[in-house]
């Protein structure tokens, strides 16, 4: 397969170590390749790609248009990304952010409905805590079964996501939380709305703080070291006396808690909601959590790098959904862009193991 390359004095070489800089380069190259491929799709759809990219960026990052939405949904994506990153550092795929987010929704809304008389100062923290606990509990199911019985965590999480989806469906469609309008929940009490700071929901600062905390947890603490050890070799972790079950429970519970917090951020922080919307809409938000996977892989599982990456990906989504309105492109174009990004990134992972180097000229002195 590589014979042609070799004739051109370029050679494929197996990497021994992957430095952080190289990983960043690979991510950047895969973004560039994505733009090229997506550009071809745009030409095929009869749109000038330069104009389209102009529209995407000018809409997504312009304070008059999409910037508010870019930040809000970027922070939601950041919750999902962090929920994905931490378990994968321990070698566990957390595909369950959708379900954990739904459970967080159930927890937060339960508090808001039953304790609606409390003042904001008590109600909001309680909603956050209970939402996080519910998400953590749901994540812990996967963590326990993975750690104890080595059940395939991906299939398990998808099953749990579907169960959680129907749980919310039950609560709002004909169930106890049914609102006055059809298929939506009762509105949240005003005292439970997230206060806005500089026109963004205050939960933005919560998720930024979690990013920093996770970074320090992973790099500076024993627990982080154990997580990373389990991630690189479960045998090594066991020989060193670490308990894979405990670590797996821990990362999945914390991941689940983070995804659970996303629920309050979205429903109480976004003035467009302040309730659980109809199933189609809350499912759409739940589907967004899967882009935490793309985001997490793109930022090479680094919680700090996740912040700009999430803003970037969310900008791409918000901007390309504007293409639907502005240039008349079909529905689903934003998810297509992210899909191409994911596939390109997957292909570029080849360069995590190999690199192309220039061959030494024959006369070179070694």
């Amino acid at each position: 397969m590589w014979t042609k390359l070799e004739k051109k004095r370029l050679k494929l070489e197996r990497r021994l170590v992957l430095t952080g800089g190289d990983a960043v380069k690979i991510s950047v190259f895969s973004i560039i390749a994505t733009f090229v491929i997506f550009g071809i799709l745009l030409i095929w759809a009869g749109v000038n790609p330069i104009e389209a990219y102009g529209e995407i960026f000018s809409y997504a990052y312009d304070p008059r248009f999409g910037l508010g939405l870019t930040i809000r949904s970027g922070m939601f994506l950041l919750f999902a990304t962090l929920a994905f990153i931490l378990p994968l550092r321990a070698g566990i795929w957390n595909i369950g952010a959708e379900g954990q987010f739904y459970l967080g929704t159930v927890g937060a809304f339960w508090v808001a409905y039953t304790l609606s008389d409390l003042p904001s100062g008590a109600l909001i923290p309680l909603m956050l805590i209970v939402g996080a606990l519910c998400g953590a509990g749901f994540g812990a199911i996967t963590g326990y079964l993975k750690g104890k019985l080595n059940v395939n965590e991906i299939v398990l999480a998808i099953m749990l996501n579907n169960i959680a989806y129907w749980l919310i469906h039950f609560l709002i469609v004909g169930g106890p939380w049914m609102g006055t309008a059809e298929s939506v929940s009762r509105p949240l009490p005003v005292s439970s709305w997230a206060p806005m700071i500089w026109e963004v929901p205050s939960t933005t600062f919560l998720v930024l703080a979690i990013s920093v905390l996770l970074y320090f947890l992973l790099t500076k603490f024993t627990a982080g070291y154990q997580i990373r050890t389990l991630g690189s070799s479960s045998a090594a972790a066991r020989y060193a006396g670490m308990s894979p079950l405990k670590i797996s429970l821990f990362v999945m519970a914390v991941g689940g808690a983070i995804a659970g917090l996303a629920a309050y951020h979205l429903w109480a922080g976004d003035p467009g909601f302040h309730m659980i919307p109809k199933p189609q809409t809350y499912k759409q938000q739940g589907d967004l959590t899967y882009y935490g996977i793309v985001c997490g892989l793109l930022c090479v599982l680094n919680p700090l790098a996740a912040i700009p990456t999430a803003i970037f990906i969310s900008g791409m989504t918000v901007g390309s959904s504007a293409l639907v309105r502005r240039l008349g492109l079909g529905f689903g174009i934003d998810f297509t862009l992210l899909g191409i990004l994911f596939l390109t990134l997957a292909a570029f992972q080849f360069f995590y193991q190999y690199r192309i180097v220039r061959r030494k000229k024959e006369g070179d002195v070694i």
Partner: protein
Amino acid sequence: MWPFVGKSLEMATLFMFAALGELLNQRSGVLNVGLEGLMLFGAASSFITATLTQNILLGFLVGMSVGGAVGFLHGYLSISLRVNQVVSGMAIWILAFGLTTYLANPFTGPLPRGVSSWRIGDLLSPLFFVGVALVFVVWFILSKTHLGLKIRAVGEDPSVAEASGINVVRTRYLCVIVGGVLGGMSGAFLSLTYLGSWSHNPVAGRGWVSLALVFLSMWRPWLLFAGALVFGTIWQFALSPEIILPALGLPLQFYRMIPFAVTIVILVVISTERFRKRWGLAKPAALGLPYVKE
């Protein structure tokens, strides 16, 4: 009652095709968690083709070819580029989710008038019997032929297989492409026969349940067949429980949870130490590991 049986068997057919393809994949050591995406691609491409050409057969052929192409893509990423197979499979799923929404959304609705899939006595698609035949064929190939031995050898220990003269790369490619064709066929069967219409994300978790079915079958085609029948019935029951149990007044949503809950319970049971020891899972030892010839 009979329509329920027919629909259940059709649902089972769908699981059979998808899971059989995945079983073949996994027996050769390649894990494709993008099965849901494969089915989406098959469902969308076949539906668009059948709508535009008014031809069901052509729809199926295109769905299967697209499935094969996506299978090849997964093969290229995971066999030739040696990318993490979970990453590649997830990428295919996420791409399918976006791209099929984008491409097929204008076609939302039922198949055009006069275009309909074949059914025996208006009850059951003949493809059910094709599915049963395929289970037999896959079982026969895997356990009785030289090719099957090669596939299993490649899935167990690719370096030993290579040393004994088997072309690992070619065998794996063969399996992922055939697996892709079967996944695409399952998707085509869903949109053209079972549903006969297109709406947003019609696969709705069936691909994931098919993937789970492969684990539950312990990589044996006949157990997979039994599993497909059971899950076909459970899923159909979850969709229309009133046909079987009219008296229970439980909310519909609880029935919808059943297939997923049952999957979890069985996954947990087959993963217990006792079960593993007693039944000895035929899990391919090299499953999910890229093969590096160096």
